[in-house]
């Protein structure tokens, strides 16, 4: 301790806690977006530490597409109860019913884009002025330009060309009525950092991150899990494979990877030698070169 050095993982931890506390101090109605995915689990764990021994000063909010993996939903409910946090869930299906948005057509209709509508409606319903997200800059090139404190206008939109410069550790969370912020405490973390932190903290994670048997269909190189929301095309068929998930999104657009990794240590070895990006399994990003930027501008996570 007397050398006054911190390891990189500790530095990231202290930085994230600083950001979480700034959110509690600068905003009146913050919320933590929680999907049961590994990044949001790490973020929620850091939030626990930031305010211990007090409880989380914000609710956990989840936008449920109805196409989520049941393992992730189970985990979400268990986690909220375990930490004693308030859980707010809003459903894309309700937004569709209310005519706020329309289901996509095609063989694997994605509700990925529709989540934005439900998310923005939820933000308005509860008057949230800051939403904490687990997104990281290393995930995707539009995210690499994202700020810790990211301003959203009254329509929930992101203006990437007109972002507030962020210097030192001074975060400007000032806004006008109706605007809000998205805040990303894990901005400087990489996929490897997240896994190492899960291992260091011995965090529980949903079972789909570990190797298991699953019936999948290979569609354009993405292994999609068998589900009622996917229509098989001519020549396609389901087959059982040994797989796990690197990211957890909608089952209709998140692919599995073939893997025998069944422990955290094995996953870490696998991540270390991986030659594909984590979001390479996300069909939603493959729609175009600017798919993420376009969704983010509209108010996506």
């Amino acid at each position: 301790m007397s050398s006054y050095n911190l390891t990189h993982l500790s530095q990231l931890e202290h930085e994230a806690i600083f950001v979480l506390r700034e959110v509690a101090a600068q905003f009146e109605r913050p919320a933590l977006l929680f999907s049961g995915g590994k990044d949001s689990i790490v973020m929620a764990r850091l939030a626990q530490k930031a305010f211990a021994p007090a409880k989380l000063p914000f609710p956990l909010v989840h936008v449920d597409t109805g196409h989520n993996f049941p393992e992730a939903i189970e985990y979400r409910d268990w986690f909220a109860e375990d930490v004693g946090a308030r859980l707010v869930v809003r459903y894309v299906a309700d937004s569709i019913k209310a005519g706020r948005c329309q289901e996509e057509k095609g063989p694997n209709p994605s509700r990925n884009g529709l989540q934005t509508v439900t998310l923005l409606d939820t933000i308005e319903e509860f008057k949230y002025d800051a939403c904490l997200g687990g997104a990281r800059r290393d995930e995707e090139k539009a995210r690499a330009k994202e700020r810790f404190f990211s301003h959203r206008d009254e329509f929930g939109q992101w203006d990437p060309k007109n972002q507030r410069p962020e210097l030192w550790n001074l975060f400007n969370g000032r806004k006008n009525q109706g605007e809000h912020f998205r805040v990303f405490p894990l901005s400087n973390w990489t996929e490897m950092d997240v896994w190492q932190y899960i291992a260091r903290e011995k965090l529980k994670i949903p079972s789909i991150y570990f190797s298991h048997q699953r019936r999948v269909v290979n569609r354009n190189g993405v292994l999609l899990a068998e589900s009622p929301y996917i229509t098989l095309l001519d020549g396609e068929h389901y087959e059982e494979r040994t797989v796990r998930y690197r990211t957890v999104g909608d089952s209709t657009c998140t692919g599995a990877v073939e893997s025998p990794a069944s422990t955290l240590a094995e996953i870490i070895q696998e991540v270390a030698s991986a030659r594909q990006t984590e979001r390479g399994t996300r069909a939603d990003d493959k729609r175009s070169e600017s798919a993420m930027e376009d969704r983010k501008k509209a108010g996506y996570f």
């Binding site: 990189h8 690499a144 972002q163 270390a272």
Partner: protein
């Protein structure tokens, strides 16, 4: 889409290694043609931070655009507008790791109209890489980048003399540039400068030492990045702790717990230490310190902790803990260097919101002292208009007192941002030089600011 679990992982990610690694944040400033993108691309590629699908995508896009060589700039140009215009508009952050360290690169565009981005990237960096084209030597842009590195207090500068292949790896040419740069840099305030002859394109002295520069006895660029000593970059002398929020659990188990949450900005705090809360001046003794992994025997920068005291004192967000024998200046008058970010010029006499550490206050710009020509370091006292990307010296008066140190002494308690009141835009970044009253007359303080 097949996983590759059979390949053995590089030693970089074994647990002991990984958990003991430290973190170096560095910035690179340069323009399109000085090889900056090539250099970053090489560092990322050689450290396996570029994934196959990213590379394939890059090849596809490069081909689509009808370009002949792989355009590595497309890696960092994340926004549609950047790709369309072929320019970097904003700071991009990139990540890679070697067995020794994890690195965060703040990649910033080098043109004069992007000075504000360079300043932003430099504000959190331990080290700056300054690229010099071996054929051109020290040019205006080199001076600009070095001045900004110096002004922003970056402790380590690596001058990478690039394109050595185009000057036949000439030792004489390298020495000429070293002499040129050293003469210029003697006017600046950079503690540690290293020179490395490289060819980013061919990889000479980037990761491994080149056989083509037998006269060069220093380490490669990557070796330098891995080994530069950063343990003393934080201030561990002057105790400073700004309160972010107060933690009060209000439950039976922790009924009396009152934790002052914040991040240590300097010095060392231990249980039993006497502190003084500013601006009130109320004394107290530290009862306990709580970190992310439990109670701590000591806390130092940049740790996020919660501090409990032996008595109830009235302290809240924006207040600062120091020690009775080592306190910052408490003042409403500040002399600072300012870098301007907004299209609308700084309004002399205008009112702004000032955010310093965890405190926010209204302020008025009382005077503009001079504007700096950032290419020549000449101080202009005739033209005092501070527009976008300009740097100048101002006097600010705040509505409430701030607890400040000079930026040179502490990057956290010595910095602030200015916010435009109605748009809420961040319009300026300030580095505190000295304080009216307390440090007045100490002219060395002036000399400390980037050589001015």
């Amino acid at each position: 889409m097949s996983a590759t679990p059979t390949t053995a992982a590089a030693p970089v990610h074994t647990d002991e290694h990984y958990l003991a690694m430290d973190l170096l944040r560095f910035t690179t400033a340069g323009s399109v043609d000085d090889g900056k993108s090539t250099l970053i691309g090489r560092l990322l590629y050689d450290s396996k931070a570029i994934f196959e699908d990213t590379l394939e995508n890059l090849e596809r896009v490069t081909e689509q655009r009808g370009e002949e060589t792989l355009n590595l700039a497309l890696l960092t140009d994340g926004l549609r507008a950047e790709r369309e215009q072929g320019i970097t508009i904003d700071v991009a952050y990139r990540y890679f790791a070697t067995p020794k360290r994890k690195f965060i690169i703040a990649d910033t565009p080098g043109h004069i109209q992007y000075t504000r981005n360079m300043v932003t990237g430099a504000s959190t960096a331990n080290l700056a890489i300054i690229l010099i084209d071996a054929r051109k030597g020290v040019i205006e842009q080199t001076c600009r980048h070095s001045f900004i590195a110096s002004l922003l207090g970056i402790p380590h500068v690596v001058v990478a003399v690039n394109k050595m292949d185009l000057v036949d790896f000439s030792e004489a040419r390298f020495n000429e540039i070293v002499a040129q740069y050293s003469e210029f840099a003697s006017r600046l305030n950079i503690a540690d400068i290293k020179f490395i002859p490289i060819s980013a394109l061919h990889g000479d002295n980037v990761v491994e030492n080149s056989t083509r520069t037998p006269w060069y006895h220093g380490g490669s660029l990557l070796y330098t990045l891995e080994t530069v000593y950063i343990g003393s970059d934080h201030n561990h002398i002057d105790p400073r702790f700004s309160i972010q929020t107060v933690i009060r659990p209000n439950n039976d188990a922790h009924h009396d717990f009152r934790g002052f949450a914040g991040r240590v900005a300097g010095g060392v705090f231990k249980p039993g230490d006497e502190i003084v809360s500013l601006p009130s001046g109320l004394p107290a003794v530290i009862k306990s310190i709580h970190g992310p992994e439990g109670e701590l025997a000591e806390a130092f920068a940049p740790m996020s902790v919660a501090i409990t005291l032996d008595r109830e004192i009235d302290s809240s967000r924006g207040d600062l803990f120091a020690k009775p024998n080592n306190q910052p200046a408490v003042t409403q008058d500040i002399e600072a260097m300012i870098c301007w970010f907004a299209p609308a010029k700084l309004n002399p006499g205008g009112k702004y919101i000032l955010r310093h550490a965890t405190r926010e206050t209204k302020c008025a710009v009382k005077a503009v002292r001079y504007k700096v020509n950032i290419n020549t370091l000449h101080k202009n006292t005739e033209d005092l208009s501070i527009g976008m990307n300009d740097i100048g010296r101002i006097h600010v008066r705040t509505a409430v007192p701030l607890m400040i140190d000079s930026y040179k002494r502490n990057r956290t308690t010595g910095s602030f941002i200015l916010i435009e009141e109605f748009s809420n835009a961040t319009v300026g970044a300030g580095m505190i030089m000295w304080t009216e009253g307390s440090e007045r007359g100490q002219t060395e303080q002036f000399a400390d600011m980037g050589g001015l």
